[in-house]
Subunit: 137 residues, 2 copies
C-alpha cells in the first residue's frame, strides 16, 4: 500500500498540473481543496522540490509549480520519489536494491525470479503513464 504521504503528494501534483502553469499554486489552496493537512503537505511538497519535480516561489504571489511538462513526468518516478521502491522485495528493486539476509543465492531463488516478473509487469504500466494522462480525465 502507498503511504498517505504518497497519496497526498500525488493528489497535490494532479491539482497543480490541472492549473496548467497559470502561476504558482498556494499550499493552503491545495490543502483546502484536497483536504490534506497543511503542515503535512508542506513537508511533502518540499520533498518533491528537492527531487526537482516542483519549484517554488516565496512571498506574495508565491507558491508551487511544476518544473517539467506533465507529459514527461512518469507515475513510476513519482511513486519512487514519494513512496520508495515499486518492487515487492528489496532484492528485485532496480532503484533501491538490497540483498536478503536469508537468501544464499539470489540467482537460484524462485521468489526472486517471480517478484522480478511482477515488478516488470507493474513497471510496464507505471512508466508509460504520465502525470498528463491523469489530468486529461
Amino acid at each position: 500500500m502507498l503511504s498517505k504521504k504518497t497519496k497526498y503528494g500525488l493528489k497535490a501534483l494532479i491539482y497543480i498540473a490541472k492549473q496548467g502553469g497559470l502561476g504558482p499554486v498556494l499550499i493552503s489552496d491545495i490543502s483546502e481543496k484536497e483536504n490534506i493537512p497543511k503542515k503535512f503537505l508542506e513537508t511533502i511538497l518540499l520533498d518533491l522540490k528537492k527531487f526537482g519535480i516542483l519549484g517554488s516561489k516565496k512571498g506574495k504571489g508565491g507558491g508551487y509549480y511544476l518544473m517539467k511538462d506533465p507529459k514527461t513526468i512518469s507515475m513510476a518516478t513519482l511513486i519512487r520519489v514519494l513512496d520508495g521502491p515499486i518492487a515487492m522485495l528489496p532484492c528485485v528493486s532496480l532503484n533501491f536494491y538490497e540483498p536478503c539476509d536469508d537468501c544464499p543465492n539470489e540467482k537460484a531463488c524462485i521468489l526472486n525470479h517471480f517478484m522480478a516478473e511482477v515488478r516488470d509487469n507493474t513497471l510496464n504500466l507505471l512508466q508509460k503513464k504520465t502525470l498528463y494522462d491523469l489530468i486529461i480525465v
Copy 2:
C-alpha cells in the same frame, strides 16, 4: 513492499510444496533450510493454517502440509492472506476496501481510477500464477 512475514511465508510454502506431499514438514526443517527465525515462522504457519492453506499434525511425525493442490493456490490469495491488500490504495481494494477521509467523491477521483487500473494489471498476473508455477522452476 511485502513484509518479511510475507516473504518468509511464501518461501515456507514453496519449500513445503516442493516436498510434494511426502508427509508433514517440520517447522525446524523449514527454518533451518530457508534461514527463517523459527519462532517467527511458527506464527506465520499458524496464520496460514487459520486461512485453510496449511494443515498440521502434532507430535512425532507431525508438521505442516498443504491442504490443497498447489495448482489451485494462486499467488494473489497467498499475498492477501500474508500481507493484506494488493491494491495500492484502500479505496480500490477489492478485499480490504476502505474509503478515503479526504475524498468527497470516489467515483470522480482521478487517482482512484488510475489505481484501480494498476490493481487490475497486477491482479491479472497474480491470479494466473499459482504455487505450482513456482515449484516447477
